[in-house]
């Protein structure tokens, strides 16, 4: 890696993106920025992952800041005792790593004593644990030996110095891949990325009707039913931020089915089609099976098209879902894309998305929030998609905003949710129109 003297890196760099093979996108300019980032770190993924994998517990090894971050991001959503906690590093843990490891073992013992229902424990690295070089991989191995077979202990990093927001889920799932059992000779489909349970059930019905299967999901709903993986596994990414997970799956021999993401009706159809084609499903059958979903979503989207068509939208980087969602808003609802910012542009997985974006959209990667705010004000878009730290200040300036975090915390994938996704963008505009105070 090139050393990055900050004066240089803090400047905005416009590059011609040549890594995108598609002819349309070859000459698209991408603005790369380094500066203040107004995004969460990877620890935030715990907020949804701890609900998804029901017998897993996430123990962040970090500072009070980490604990405060997760609780502020999770906010009032959690009423029960959560399946996550922080082992807060204190002054004396910094004195020597031997002590820190001993302290960690004690904390884990205390936790497992309190929560005997835990079957899978993630030790989650943070900025401070990375900086003091506390080796959580080794700690996880050590603790796994102690608590096997009752509890499996894994580790991953959700630190802000290494991960941005949804990359925490990527790191978590990647840490699970070596744990997956070896699959047999039968061809199988693996859908990768945490989805709302209701969405998962819809996809299960669709794949079942298509005749694509056996079908498994990663993550599974509990750690006792982890999917098997091997050279006969084909996987479909349900989320665009799973770079490391994909790499780990490929190391196990699994093959990626290239597809756009199942956001919006078209995205969903193309995503399902990628699997159907790999299974050589007859196109007429595919059309039959997907027809009710396509028809319903197209009817449901109709009412939002008038509200959103022609409206200018600006994306601040947040979850890496920006590009698929921008594609949906542009293609299916006629919105005008100005700048689409994303924390990290995963070109390979987004290939089929980028090729569907219009020529004139400004893509940006990374962030210098002050400069980006300047550009946003200059564009004066009808709708700004941004994080919680920016939304109210921008509203106070007269701009209309959509909180990006809702796109991660709501079921938005698949046919039946396409209109819900559109509604998330229509509602702020409706509010602006309706209010007379």
């Amino acid at each position: 890696m090139m050393p990055s003297p900050c004066r240089e890196s803090r400047q905005s760099v416009v590059v011609q993106d040549e890594s995108v093979a598609d002819a349309q996108s070859t000459h698209r300019s991408i603005l790369r920025e380094r500066g203040q980032r107004e995004v969460f770190c990877g620890l935030t993924g715990i907020v949804w992952l701890h609900r998804k994998i029901q017998d897993a517990f996430f123990l962040v090894v970090g500072s009070r800041t980490c604990a405060h971050l997760i609780q502020s991001a999770a906010g009032v959503m959690i009423f029960a005792e959560p399946r996550f906690a922080t082992a807060i590093i204190e002054e004396r843990d910094l004195a020597g790593l031997a002590d820190a490891n001993e302290e960690l073992d004690k904390t884990v013992a205390q936790l497992l004593d309190r929560r005997p229902d835990i079957r899978l424990l993630f030790l989650v690295g943070s900025c401070p644990s990375e900086v003091i070089k506390l080796d959580l991989t080794r700690a996880a191995q050590r603790l796994s030996k102690t608590y096997a077979p009752q509890v499996r202990v894994l580790s991953y990093s959700g630190s802000g110095i290494e991960t941005t927001f949804t990359q925490g889920e990527d790191a978590c799932l990647a840490s699970l891949v070596p744990e997956l059992p070896e699959a047999g000779a039968e061809r199988s489909l693996l859908v990768v990325g945490a989805l709302a349970d209701v969405v998962e059930d819809q996809f299960t019905r669709l794949f079942g009707a298509l005749g694509v299967g056996p079908l498994h999901y990663l993550p599974s709903r509990d750690s006792q039913s982890l999917p098997a993986v091997g050279p006969n596994t084909h996987y479909l990414l349900a989320q665009p931020f799973l770079n490391d997970t994909a790499r780990a799956l490929e190391e196990r021999g699994a093959k990626r089915l290239a597809a756009p993401f199942p956001l919006g009706a078209e995205g969903t159809t193309q995503w399902l089609k990628a699997a159907a084609d790999a299974w050589d499903i007859d196109d007429a059958h595919f059309q039959d099976v997907t027809k009710p979903g396509r028809n319903r979503s197209s009817r449901a989207l109709e009412r939002y098209r008038d509200q959103l068509s022609g409206k200018k939208i600006f994306f601040f980087p947040d979850s890496q879902l920006e590009i698929p969602i921008a594609r949906f808003l542009h293609k299916e609802l006629g919105m005008h894309l100005t700048e689409v910012g994303t924390p990290f542009l995963q070109r390979q997985h987004l290939e089929r998305e980028l090729s569907q974006l219009p020529e004139d959209v400004q893509l940006s990667e990374g962030q210098d929030v002050e400069r980006q705010l300047d550009r946003c004000r200059l564009e004066s878009p009808d709708l700004v998609v941004c994080g919680l730290g920016l939304a109210n200040p921008l509203e106070a300036e007269g701009l209309t905003t959509k909180w990006a975090i809702e796109l991660v915390f709501s079921p938005i994938h698949g046919y039946e949710q396409a209109a819900d996704l559109a509604e998330l963008f229509a509602r702020p505009l409706l509010r602006k129109e309706s209010l007379e105070v």
Partner: protein, 526 residues
């Protein structure tokens, strides 16, 4: 390492942010990795502030650690100065940056920015949010107090022109519990006393304003957790006396008025005579008989807990059955207060300890923070919020102070409304088995069929006290006794269960019958 589920306070740099965000013309450059910007949402979402906190985060990444994070800091500080042109800056490190030891103070000094830069050293692995706020405010006051030497007699804008005593109101910050409204209430009260406010700080003050802080005759310390350190330094340095009574509750507000009158040399009689609070009469009105002896548990920051305990005891005739604080710096004060009510103070920042204490005590009302609101909700106990940490609901649109005479009115309403009172309490007790007149039935006027659960079998909805080694003893309930227990209204059922079990254990009863239940009732009374 400390195993933490929820935390009452953030790290100390969040305290520094509360000062910076409260003030005008001050900018904070924080050496911090990506992710620490989450703290912005506390201000923009929870407090609904229409502006971003004036904070620049350097956002260093793993790959910078091998290169030059110091350079990154300097670039960020330089750019922040140029963009925001603040009157002054504060610089410091968050927990991660503290470990890489870049010395933000020294780096900022080397930049020779044309404005004062105040370096902050806030040890993240030892201290917490309120301490960080207090330390930041203290360093700012030290840096600027006394800088403005223009004589106030020659300054036409000076409040001194009125010839009235001048004071500073110290302690209100961003993200405080009702700080904005408290400042308005107390400023009005001081005005009625004939005292002018020289400066409110940090809320709304600029660094230039802090230069005039020494002009006041005395300081009013509204929030000791935040302003105590600065006020003690001002007392030593400028001989400014401190008014330290926290005016929450009618009694404390009257004492505050007397203390101000004494320090300022003004007459308090007319203010004390009018004492415009409805709390005393409401508490004496016959309806409040139902409040008498209600068992309350109180938890929060030290000042609010001490004030709440006094109000509960003296002004509402509640029984304080437990109190505590997460403000370890003020543990001694809270312990002393607890002694007055014959209870042990719970000094902890572990939410699970608080939950356990609440479930053991089974109070009839919990006065706490948003954390205790969760605990109380799970245990089915009414709750009112009296202290930070806060939630969006703690920033009401209406004027809603805690301090002063109006604050006492607000407190009366806020604490009493969650309780079941008056005839309702009796009727619930008498006709417990009426099919649509119990705690599980929905409102009958909404024309929905509420699903009746069979009484003895419906154990699922009963909120059991958290399992403690004590309550796991061998005492069991007979079906009849369990059925009888369910006739007791839900808001006292937990207490009845606990009392009966304690009684049974003490009397060697292994199986609780209906007789045991009534024996225990006679033993404990009420």
């Amino acid at each position: 390492m400390q195993l933490t589920v929820w935390t009452y306070e953030g790290p100390p740099h969040v305290g520094a942010m509360r000062i910076a965000t409260a003030m005008e013309g001050l900018h904070y450059v924080l050496h911090a990795p990506q992710g620490d910007t989450y703290a912005d949402l506390l201000f923009t979402m929870i407090e609904r502030l229409p502006k971003r906190p004036p904070v620049t985060y350097t956002t260093f990444q793993a790959r910078d650690l091998g290169a030059d994070t110091a350079d990154l800091f300097q670039t960020a500080a330089q750019e922040a100065y140029e963009r925001f042109k603040p009157q002054a800056m504060i610089v410091g490190a968050s927990c991660t940056a503290e470990l890489i030891q870049d010395d933000p103070g020294g780096l900022a000094k080397a930049l020779q920015l044309p404005v004062p830069v105040v370096p902050l050293e806030l040890p993240s692995y030892q201290r917490k949010e309120n301490w960080g706020a207090a330390e930041t405010f203290y360093h700012l006051v030290r840096a600027f107090a006394g800088q403005d030497q223009s004589s106030d007699e020659t300054d036409p804008a000076s409040e001194r022109a009125h010839g009235r005593p001048l004071c500073n109101l110290l302690g209100p910050t961003a993200l405080g519990f009702r700080h904005r409204d408290d400042v308005r209430e107390i400023s009005g009260l001081l005005d009625r006393l004939g005292v002018d406010v020289n400066l409110v700080a940090p809320l709304g003050a600029t660094p230039a304003d802090l230069c005039k802080i020494h002009r006041a005759d005395f300081n009013v310390v509204l929030y000791p957790e935040i302003a105590g350190t600065a006020a003690r330094w001002l007392e030593r340095t400028f001989k400014q006396p401190m008014v330290t009574t926290v005016p929450i509750g009618v009694g404390a507000t009257k004492e505050f008025v007397q203390e101000v009158a004494q320090v300022a040399g003004v007459d308090a009689d007319h203010v004390l005579a009018e004492a415009p609070s409805r709390l005393p009469w409401y508490s004496r009105s016959v309806d409040s008989t139902y409040l008498t002896g209600k068992r309350v548990f109180i938890f929060g920051d030290a000042s609010h807990v001490i004030a709440a305990a006094r109000i509960a005891h003296e002004e509402l005739a509640f029984e304080v059955v437990g109190l505590g604080t997460y403000s370890r710096e003020f543990a001694r004060n809270v312990r002393a207060e607890a002694e007055k009510y014959g209870v042990d103070a719970l000094i902890t920042d572990d939410y699970l300890d608080v939950e356990q204490r609440v479930s053991e005590l089974q109070p009839e009302l919990v006065l706490g923070t948003q954390m205790e609101r969760h605990i109380a909700k799970r245990l089915g106990i009414p709750c009112a919020v009296i202290s930070a940490p806060t939630h969006v609901q703690d920033y009401p649109a209406r004027y809603s102070p805690q301090m002063g005479f109006e604050g006492a009115n607000v407190i009366f309403d806020t604490w009493v409304h969650p309780l079941v009172m008056g005839l309702e309490e009796h009727l619930l007790g008498m006709f417990r088995e009426d099919f649509e007149f119990n705690d599980e039935a929905g409102p009958s006027h909404l024309n929905h069929v509420s699903i009746q659960r069979p009484l003895p079998e419906a154990s699922g909805e009963e909120i059991e006290p958290a399992a403690t080694s004590e309550s796991q003893s061998t005492v069991g309930w007979t079906t009849d006794a369990e059925k009888e227990l369910r006739k007791i209204p839900f808001f006292v059922r937990g207490k009845a269960r606990r009392n009966t079990e304690t009684f049974a254990r003490e009397h060697g009863v292994n199986s609780i019958t209906v007789e045991t239940l009534y024996d225990a009732k006679a033993h404990f009374g009420r």
